[in-house]
Symmetry: C2
Subunit: 135 residues, 2 copies
């Protein structure tokens, strides 16, 4: 990911259709394997910071503040490419995920599925959450 | 994808945390290549129909009706696996996309990105939209 100028950040902010709450859903995907890691939300500030710093920053709706992914856990996402869709209302960010994406210690957040007729967990915990966030 | 019973559909509907509008964002991914195709929304009826029929059905927020993907264009999505995330508020559906996912005639919807400092289109149109939807 090359350095991004303020003009380029403005062009992306201009292009994206944020919703009435000023947010856009952002899907993160591991750039080399194609694994879908998680979905979270971005506001204008987090889009700008992500593009400028090259590390992914979301907007936490529950905490109502910027959520610099990996800030407390170390499991950061290095930006590889920033894309948006035909309606400009969803973002797809290609990243290099350090460690695990999910706060449960799993590699990605999409570990629930139907198996043998019942909801089941289909991915193992790779890192103890206590090692990510402390006791 | 095996046949899904009414009890299994209920278990999934029970598990998913729909938002205040009764919707959940659904990311579709091509099951064998990992390509992220699009993001749209589902309500309870579209989740139930998708699981039961094995073909993906979204909820169109603009038209306020069920959106059976491919119904008019023929570009349907055959369900391969239905997953949901750690917070149960986002769905990831693995599909076999027939033809192209995007109404612009591109394979996936995420074809905008920054290139040489400017927003650019990074994917070619594969099917003329007029061939998908008529003139």
């Amino acid at each position: 990911m090359r350095d991004v100028t303020a003009a380029e950040v403005s062009a992306v902010l201009e292009a994206i259709a944020f919703n009435d709450d000023g947010l856009v859903p952002a899907i993160s995907q591991q750039f080399d394997t194609g694994e879908v890691l998680m979905m979270a939300w971005m506001n204008r500030d987090s889009v700008a910071e992500t593009l400028t710093n090259g590390k992914v920053c979301y907007w936490s709706r529950s905490r109502q503040k910027l959520w610099r992914k990996g800030e407390s856990s170390g499991q950061e996402q290095v930006l590889k490419d920033f894309r948006w869709d035909c309606d400009s209302d969803t973002v797809l960010i290609l990243v290099d995920q350090k460690g695990v994406a999910c706060h449960t210690g799993r590699r990605n957040c999409f570990f629930n599925a139907l198996r043998d007729g019942k909801p089941a967990v289909i991915a193992d915990v790779e890192v103890d959450p206590e090692d990510l966030y402390g006791r």
